[in-house]
C-alpha cells in the first residue's frame, strides 16, 4: 500500500469513529489503534484476574454463609470478566498465553489498587463500594468506545460491576448499623482504601500521557481529574449517609464550583506501587505465576486428551467410511 492509500484508509477509519460507528476485528485499523487496544484491554483483563486475589483472600473467612456465597459469586464474575476481556483482546490477533506471559514477565500492567492487602472483612465491603465504584466511573464511558468487542464486553462488565458496587455498599451499611467494633472496622477500611481509590484514576491531567489520542478513539471521554472529581462527589454523600468519615481533613464542599475540594494525593505512594513496590505487588504476581506454572501439567493433559479424542473420532469415521 502506498502512503497515500494508508492515509486515506486512516482518514476513513477516523471518520467512522467520529460517526460513532463500531470498529470490528475484521476491519482495517491502524497498527497503533490495534496496539493501544491490546494494551488497554489486556490491562483491564489482567486487573480482573489479579483483582480476584485480594477478595479471594476472604472467601474461607467470610462471616456468614450468605456473604460467603455472594463473595464467591463476585470473584467468579471477575473471572468471567477476565475471560471475555481476554477474548475481546484475542480478536486483535494475540493469544491469551501471550497476554499471560506479558503479565508474568511484568511487561503488562494491572490496576495498582489490587496491590493493597485485604486485612479485615470490611475491606471486602470497601472494595465493592469504592474500588468497583471507581471502576464503573472509569468504565461506563467505554460501553460506547469505538472498538466493538471491547464496547460489548464493557456493557456486560458494567452491569455486573454496578451490582457488586451496591453489594459492597450494603456490606458497609450492615457494618455501620452493627456494633461499635463493626463500625470501627468499616471506618478503618475506609481510611486505608480511600486514597488508593482516588489513585485509581491515574496521575493528574498535567502528568497524564496518551490522553488526546484516547479521546479521539473514545477510549477516554473525560480526563483523569474530571473522573476523580466525579467519584469524590458521588462517594462523599454515601459515606455521610452511613456515618463514616472520609479520611481527608481538607475535604469540603465548595459552593462555588459545585464540587468537593479535597486534599493532596500522596503521589510518591502512587508511583511506588505502580513501579512494583507496593504492599502486595510481589505476592500478587507470585500467586498468578504459581497458579499458571502449577497448572501447566493440567493444561498439557487436557490438550493431549483432546488430541487423542480427535484421533479416536477420526479413526471411527474412517472405519465407518
Amino acid at each position: 500500500m502506498s502512503e497515500d492509500q494508508i492515509k486515506n484508509l486512516e482518514a476513513q477509519f477516523e471518520a467512522r469513529i467520529a460517526r460513532d460507528e463500531k470498529i470490528e476485528p475484521k476491519d482495517w485499523m491502524p497498527e497503533k489503534y490495534r496496539q493501544t487496544h491490546i494494551r488497554q484491554i489486556s490491562q483491564h483483563a489482567h486487573s480482573e484476574i489479579v483483582g480476584m486475589l485480594p477478595e479471594g483472600n476472604w472467601i474461607t473467612r467470610a462471616p456468614s454463609l450468605r456473604r460467603k456465597v455472594a463473595l464467591l459469586a463476585k470473584v467468579q464474575d471477575e473471572a468471567g470478566h477476565g475471560l471475555y476481556l481476554y477474548s475481546a483482546c484475542e480478536t486483535l490477533g494475540i493469544s491469551r498465553e501471550e497476554l499471560y506471559e506479558q503479565l508474568h514477565a511484568g511487561k503488562a500492567k494491572y490496576s495498582s489498587i489490587f496491590n493493597y492487602p485485604t486485612l479485615t472483612w470490611a475491606d471486602i465491603g470497601t472494595i465493592g463500594w469504592l474500588v468497583d465504584g471507581a471502576a464503573i466511573i472509569n468504565q461506563v464511558p467505554l460501553c460506547n468506545t469505538s472498538f466493538g468487542p471491547y464496547a460489548r464486553a464493557m456493557v456486560r462488565v458494567c452491569k455486573e460491576e454496578s451490582f457488586h458496587q451496591r453489594q459492597g455498599y450494603e456490606i458497609m451499611i450492615k457494618l455501620c448499623e452493627g456494633t461499635k467494633e463493626q463500625k470501627e472496622m468499616a471506618q478503618d477500611a475506609l481510611n486505608r482504601w480511600w486514597w488508593p481509590s482516588l489513585m485509581m484514576f491515574g496521575p493528574t491531567d498535567a502528568e497524564s500521557i496518551h490522553t488526546e489520542q484516547s479521546m479521539k478513539w473514545k477510549l477516554k471521554r473525560k480526563s483523569n481529574d474530571e473522573l476523580r472529581q466525579q467519584f469524590i462527589d458521588q462517594t462523599v454523600p454515601q459515606a455521610d449517609l452511613i456515618g463514616l468519615t472520609i479520611p481527608d481533613p481538607d475535604l469540603k464542599w465548595n459552593e462555588k464550583t459545585g464540587h468537593y475540594d479535597f486534599g493532596e494525593i500522596d503521589w510518591n505512594e502512587f508511583w511506588q506501587v505502580v513501579k512494583g513496590h507496593g504492599p502486595c505487588n510481589k505476592e500478587r504476581m507470585k500467586a498468578r505465576v504459581d497458579a499458571w506454572e502449577n497448572g501447566q501439567w493440567v493444561r498439557d493433559a487436557a490438550m493431549a486428551f483432546a488430541e487423542k479424542e480427535q484421533e479416536r473420532k477420526e479413526k471411527l469415521t474412517n472405519k465407518a467410511v
Binding site: 486475589l53 474461607t60 462471616p63 467468579q76 497458579a291 497448572g295 498439557d300 490438550m303 486428551f305
Partner: protein, 251 residues
C-alpha cells in the same frame, strides 16, 4: 431438642457440602485456568446453596434461636459430621478432581434416594440439588478421564490421587446409628442399597482411562462420628474465624 436425630441427620448431609465448598473456596483464583476456576467456583456455589437450605431447615428444627450461620460455624470440630474424604487438602488438581469425582458419584446416588424421603423438605432440597450434582459429576468425571488419559505425568498424578483418597470411600457406606433410625423412618437414605452401583460407576470411569482400581481391605472412617483428620482443625480455624472473633454480630 425434639427432632434431634433428624437434626443431626441433616447436619451429616449438609456438612459434606459445607466442607467441600470450603475447600473449593480456597482455590478461587489459583486454578490451572480461568475456565476451571469458574467451574470450581460454580460447584462451590451450588454446594453452599444446598448447605444453606439444609442448615436453615436444621435451625428451624433446633428452634433455639440459632441461625444457619451459628450451626455452620459455631460447632466444635467433634460436632461436624462430614466424611473424611471431603476435608482432605487441595494437594494438587488431580486430588481436587479425584476428591470431587469420588464424592459426586456418591452424591448423585444419594440424592436420588433422598428425593424419595418422607420428609418433604429434604425431598425438595434433594430434588433441586440433584440437577446440580449431576452436572458436577459430569465435570469431575471428565477431568478424571482427561487427566487419567492425558499425559504420562497427569496419569501418574491422577493414579496417586485415586490411590490416596480411595481409603476414604468406604465411609460413605458406613451406617451410623442416626442413619439407621432415619432409614427406619423412611426419612433417611439406605446408602448400602447403592454401594455396588457406586463402585461400578467409579470403576467404570477409572477403567475407561486405564487407571488402576486400588485394592485395599483397609479403609478409614470417623468423620460421620465427628472424628476427623488433622486437616479439619486448620480448615475450621479459617471457617470459624469471624464468628468466633466477633460473636453474636450480624453481617
Amino acid at each position: 431438642m425434639k427432632n434431634e436425630t433428624l437434626y443431626k441427620y441433616i447436619l451429616s448431609i449438609a456438612d459434606n457440602s459445607l466442607i467441600l465448598g470450603q475447600r473449593l473456596g480456597e482455590l478461587c483464583g489459583h486454578g490451572p485456568s480461568l475456565e476451571t476456576d469458574i467451574a470450581c467456583t460454580n460447584i462451590a456455589l451450588d454446594l453452599l446453596g444446598q448447605v444453606r437450605s439444609y442448615y436453615q431447615y436444621a435451625a428451624k428444627l433446633a428452634g433455639d434461636g440459632r441461625t444457619e450461620d451459628d450451626i455452620a460455624m459455631l460447632r466444635n470440630e467433634r460436632e461436624y459430621l462430614n466424611v473424611l474424604l471431603l476435608e482432605q487438602p487441595n494437594t494438587d488438581f488431580a486430588y481436587i478432581m479425584a476428591r470431587q469425582f469420588l464424592f459426586d458419584v456418591y452424591h448423585v446416588l444419594f440424592l436420588q434416594e433422598l428425593q424419595k424421603s418422607h420428609d418433604v423438605t429434604l425431598s425438595a432440597i434433594a430434588n433441586k440439588a440433584i440437577k446440580e450434582a449431576s452436572y458436577h459429576q459430569r465435570f469431575s468425571s471428565d477431568w478424571v478421564k482427561r487427566l487419567g488419559d492425558g499425559t504420562e505425568e497427569s496419569h501418574k498424578k491422577m493414579q496417586t490421587a485415586i490411590n490416596d483418597l480411595w481409603v476414604y470411600t468406604d465411609e460413605f457406606f458406613h451406617l451410623t446409628e442416626i442413619d439407621k433410625i432415619m432409614v427406619e423412618k423412611s426419612i433417611g437414605v439406605d446408602v448400602l442399597k447403592f454401594k455396588d452401583q457406586y463402585y461400578n460407576r467409579v470403576n467404570k470411569i477409572l477403567e475407561q482411562v486405564t487407571l488402576i482400581i486400588p485394592e485395599s481391605n483397609y479403609f478409614l472412617k470417623g468423620g460421620k462420628e465427628g472424628i476427623h483428620t488433622e486437616h479439619m482443625g486448620y480448615l475450621l480455624t479459617e471457617l470459624q474465624y469471624m464468628q468466633r472473633t466477633y460473636p453474636k454480630m450480624s453481617w
